[in-house]
Symmetry: C2
């Protein structure tokens, strides 16, 4: 059973996922290779290689766990957390832990092994976003789960082990620190100003323009003022809303319409970079409707400089967001 | 001039180091290759390839910036921060910034290109630790600098660009978040218990034993209870002390005596892993003598899983610290 443990100094929770543990003679450095088409468990016809699907979008009434799907969501075969069991909390001297109740799912975004998000049509991207939404809404019914995290590792250097386009969902019995920091900061801003800090940022950035990459009626893509990574890009809804999964359908359409060119701009500027994409939405059980503002953060993984940052949370970025936005804006699509 | 910027939501400071900025046509992914012996600017005889030294340990009265040294400290040729200038702070709407005053130095640990820390003799390791101490004590005289960070990236995958054994020092006009989190957590513990949380951990871990890797009279090496990384290892002084640079000489000797076998154990268990080593010491100008406790954290970089963690600060670790400590303890040296 995986375990959640809390660092007694910083309060940071980590998952100790011993079910994924390597054999003692296999502690070496993992190589940065991904599983290719020949053995890909996410390609049509290999549905038996994954656990049974929890959601699929299918045409022509094809049977579950058989070809004919446009998108599939399956439990992760090597989950960091487990759905079964009760959420036991335990203290041991200084230390706090709970058993690793949660969910870990894979969103297989397309049957096409070679069709990354940036190459998909807008309706296909919208379908992926819709699947995110449906899975969040379903898992929120489980009151043990306090936060649902959706992310995408694109490229081996960003942590992907499979080339086939996919995202991941992790539902957690705690709210992770990086979400807590955002929530706390946004609450402090609201307490002083009675306004959402993200709304203030969107308004100021649109007026200023230097860090805006692209916008449409509902969404703006911008280089944040204090980016941790070169070409870090955020997509924010212009209309306030705390939860990604509660955004109106037309906002989802606008998001898909903007996500595609933003990814294309990154691809053309920095030559198909590996990246992590993280959906930031409010924790399931917390009422932060006034203070929090859902958004998407894309972090390209370009520089080795980040080796150090990784262990300390302290970031040195060699590219200013004004320069990054300017370069990204200038890409001809 | 580099710039420090504060994220208006989380309060996180980042360095935008545009002096290190790449040309617009050079935004591609950096390759994981390091500079080898042929072009190594840190080897004896190539002293002119680095900025003039700020400290060196030399034998036989050899001249500065010439061969004959055992250890050299030089300013980083591509500094993330600059020493010259005044510390101007500025607000712009929602945003806060200051100019990037600070220091960025390189500690060239040995003249021998092929002598990593784990292969050095104890007196050689002690000399490296002594250089850390001397540089911290010198830079603390500059009241603009609020925190001094010493770290080591070992191996290309950990961010090192040069094979030649070296550490880095960054002196900052702010206290970085990861240090602030530790300070805050330690202060909260002290407020409740009137005891240092690190002292409590050392005492409990020595009594329990399951996570202890090795110890001597003054220092204990342990796998922390909630490690972010597989085989993460902390070295803590048994005697309370907030500042690494104020530790008595015999503690420095004990640290060197323990650091060597700990690195050897990691090397033999996980086959010479890339790692980041970070010295955690109290911020220069803060009186946290009762609550903070200096220590060293070593984070091996083994798994790709961390791709995601890098962008979110949320960690999944496939190896329990009890298992890691057991494996490391069992290595025959």
């Amino acid at each position: 059973m995986p375990e959640l443990r809390r660092d007694p100094i910083t309060g940071r929770w980590v998952i100790i996922s011993t079910d994924r543990q390597k054999r003692p003679n296999d502690f070496r450095l993992e190589h940065f290779a991904t599983i290719g088409r020949e053995q890909c468990p996410f390609c049509p016809g290999r549905e038996a290689m994954t656990p049974p699907e929890v959601l699929s979008y299918r045409q022509n009434g094809s049977a579950a766990n058989a070809p004919g799907w446009d998108l599939r969501v399956v439990p992760n075969k090597f989950p960091a957390l487990q759905v079964e069991g009760t959420l036991d909390r335990e203290g041991e001297g200084l230390f706090d832990r709970m058993n690793g109740i949660g969910a870990h799912e894979v969103i297989i975004e397309t049957p096409d092994h070679d069709r990354p998000l940036a190459a998909m049509s807008e309706p296909e991207i919208e379908r992926v976003l819709w699947a995110y939404r449906e899975r969040i809404l379903d898992l929120k019914k489980d009151f043990r789960l306090k936060h649902i995290l959706i992310f995408k590792n694109h490229g081996a250097a960003a942590g992907a082990t499979l080339d086939h386009p996919h995202s991941q969902l992790i539902a957690l019995p705690i709210v992770p620190d990086f979400v807590r920091e955002e929530l706390d900061g946004a609450r402090r801003h609201f307490e002083v100003k009675e306004r959402c800090v993200f709304c203030d940022i969107v308004r100021d950035e649109l007026r200023d323009g230097r860090r805006v990459i692209q916008e449409n009626a509902d969404i703006v893509a911008l280089a944040p003022y204090a980016p941790r990574f070169a070409f870090e890009t955020w997509l924010l809804p212009k209309q306030h809303g705390a939860r990604f999964e509660e955004a109106p359908r037309h906002v989802g359409e606008s998001l898909a319409r903007l996500l595609k060119p933003v990814l294309q701009r990154l691809d053309r500027t920095v030559e198909m970079p590996p990246f992590n994409l993280v959906v930031h939405t409010a924790p399931s059980a917390e009422d932060v409707r006034d203070t929090y503002h859902w958004h998407i953060e894309i972090m390209p993984r370009l520089t080795r400089v980040a080796g150090f940052e990784w262990g300390t949370g302290f970031y040195i970025n060699p590219t200013s967001p004004e320069e990054a936005a300017k370069v990204l804006r200038s890409v001809r699509l």
